[in-house]
């Protein structure tokens, strides 16, 4: 079966939720992956949405466009305030977080604030939102992102969300005792981090992706182990389920997010 870059990304991310009890997920591919995981590898997964929604049962074709709207709250178990939702993560209840960013570097630091300098940016981006909190407070964090050279940079222009900072022990030394980025899942492969240096290291290539492809899409020197695994191809069941969650392909286009014109309340 053929599949789009966004589809392999969503499926590879969903598989990472096997055995996970709760996931803090943002809108778009991360939330799609979380719902797919509920239907495959993690039936009892509790989804937590930043706007203050715990345990919603999201409806296929009606996934929320923002973290603060009724679609994201459907049949939720609890609707606490936003601060209290994040404090659940600070206390340590949240197992996994999914985050993304405009830039990521070899130590898993993410930038969603500015291209250029903070005071005089070349491009002002939307900002952290909850990304900084999720990466700082959840037990484990997975970065879910398209794999592009302009995105995978040697050093992010601004650390919005700290991965391993300068590597080694730097994250712990900064006072970030608990969470850590465990994996980076992209549409080309899956990366982890070296135990000692905390530099990003390739784990597996998705089917049909060559090592050269992946290296060409990465703007820094990735650690490459002697043996690189190949990701299991998406199964027909995974693809069917995923597509049923997003029947109009709002999120599963190759860019991973929909154009404005697809948002005319037509899912009613």
């Amino acid at each position: 079966m053929s599949y789009s870059p966004s589809e392999i990304l969503a499926i590879a991310a969903a598989r990472q939720l096997a055995g996970v009890t709760s996931v803090f997920a943002g809108v778009g591919i991360p939330l799609l992956s979380a719902v797919l995981a509920q239907r495959t590898v993690a039936p009892n997964l509790t989804i937590v949405v930043e706007g203050g929604m715990i345990g919603p049962q999201l409806i296929p074709g009606r996934l929320p466009i923002s973290t603060n709207e009724m679609r994201g709250a459907y049949r939720a178990q609890m609707l606490p305030g936003i601060t209290d939702t994040f404090l659940l993560a600070q206390r340590g209840f949240l197992d996994m977080g999914f985050v993304g960013g405009a830039q990521i570097d070899r130590y898993g630091n993410l930038n969603s604030s500015v291209v250029g300098s903070y005071r005089a940016p070349k491009v002002r981006l939307p900002g952290s939102g909850g990304a900084n909190d999720i990466i700082s407070l959840c037990r484990r964090v997975i970065v879910v992102t398209m794999h592009e050279r302009r995105r995978f940079v040697p050093r992010v222009d601004f650390v919005t969300s700290p991965g391993f900072l300068n590597g080694g022990n730097a994250r712990k030394q900064a006072g970030l005792l608990f969470g850590r980025v465990t994996r980076v899942v992209t549409h080309l492969g899956i990366m982890g981090f070296d135990e000692e240096t905390k530099a990003m290291r390739l784990e597996s290539l998705h089917p049909g992706v060559s090592l050269k492809d992946l290296i060409d899409h990465t703007g820094f020197e990735l650690l490459i182990p002697e043996k690189v695994a190949v990701t299991e191809p998406p199964t027909p069941l995974e693809l069917d389920l995923l597509r049923s969650l997003d029947p109009d392909s709002k999120y599963l286009r190759s860019e991973g997010h929909p154009p404005a014109s697809s948002r005319e309340n037509k899912d009613h």
Binding site: T83, R124, N132, L137, G175, A260, S261, R263
Partner: protein, 318 residues
């Protein structure tokens, strides 16, 4: 006020003229409490329960040099920038949502240093309102540590006196004014919110002056029969206005869904004409309309009832 100045913040509350009893008034009278240079905290979140009725009245009355704070800021921030009324924005995120892309207006203003943009993490800003709501100068947290957000904001670190761990301290944020839109209140300003409460209860306690619009003013007995549902006490409220569809075309949980087609049209105009499109929008929707009713008439009865029907469907109540 200096960040975290809890003594001054308390003094300001205590020095306010005492108002007992009813808080009901009009939008125009309520907003006269807002002054040039004020820090205004905006309730709701992104396009949920945004107090648009109050915000539009502030624009009509021409307040300037404002600092606006909101945990996730939607296009109301663009309105004030386009009106030349913003000195600084304090938020964790700015935009409408992924499908609508980066804010062209924000880019133009920040990249050309026309305003100051102060970026916090979502929880970091939430804890600033929480600290203020508690009447203390700061709260310790383990979020934001190690990130460049620490250098972009007036946070500090300290060694915990009990455990020796490094902590991030966020200073209390005491806004001059809070603007909130809630589902219902009695005439004394006891407010109830349905669905996700966002940060409204903290923001109401943090601010010196609190202006509230409610979808409905209900009899006192209705509040008294469900006091567990009251999230903001009347004693914290300065002015209250009944404004049905007071957040429209943003959403109000269970009552009306956000009108995404309106957002599409708004953004398309900005893509074509830049910030000038926002000024034209404000002229049409705000300055030429004398009341919220006149403003709603531009959308039409049919649009309002359609978005209400969608909301009931989304909650499985159709």
């Amino acid at each position: 006020m200096k960040p975290g100045d809890f003594v001054e913040a308390r003094r300001r509350l205590e020095n306010k003229p005492i108002v007992t009893g009813e808080k009901l008034t009009t939008l125009s009278e309520a907003v006269q409490r807002v002054r040039d240079g004020d820090h205004i905290a905006i309730g709701g979140c992104l396009f949920s329960r945004t107090p648009l009725g109050l915000l539009m009245e502030i624009l009509r009355q021409g307040r300037r040099d404002l600092t606006l704070s909101r945990n996730l800021m939607c296009y109301e921030g663009e309105w004030f920038m386009a009106a030349g009324a913003v000195e600084a924005l304090v938020t964790s995120w700015f935009g409408i949502g992924l499908p609508w892309g980066l804010s062209k207006v924000l880019r133009e203003q920040v990249e050309n240093a026309k305003i100051r943009f102060e970026e916090w993490s979502h929880l970091g800003l939430g804890l600033r309102y929480r600290a203020a709501a508690m009447g203390v100068p700061f709260l310790p947290t383990v979020t934001m540590l190690g990130s460049d957000l620490m250098t972009a904001t007036p946070t500090k670190t300290m060694e915990c006196p009990f455990t020796g761990q490094t902590l991030c301290l966020v200073p209390a944020l005491f806004p001059d004014v809070a603007l909130l839109h809630v589902h219902r209140a009695d005439r004394f300003g006891n407010c109830q919110i349905d669905g996700y409460p966002h940060m409204d209860a903290d923001i109401a306690r943090a601010a010196t002056t609190v202006l509230v619009t409610a979808e409905k003013i209900v009899p006192e007995d209705e509040i008294r029969s469900h006091p567990d549902r009251t999230v903001i006490p009347g004693i914290a409220i300065d002015a209250l206005v009944e404004v049905p569809y007071g957040a429209f075309p943003h959403e109000c949980y269970g009552l009306y869904e956000a009108d995404f087609a309106h957002f599409d049209a708004y953004v398309a105009e900005i893509k074509a004409k830049g910030t000038q499109a926002v000024r034209e929008y404000l002229d049409h929707y705000v300055h030429k309309r004398r009341s919220h009713k006149e403003y709603l008439a531009l959308f039409g009865e049919e649009a309002l009832s359609r978005q209400s029907r969608y909301a009931r469907e989304l909650l499985g109540r159709s």
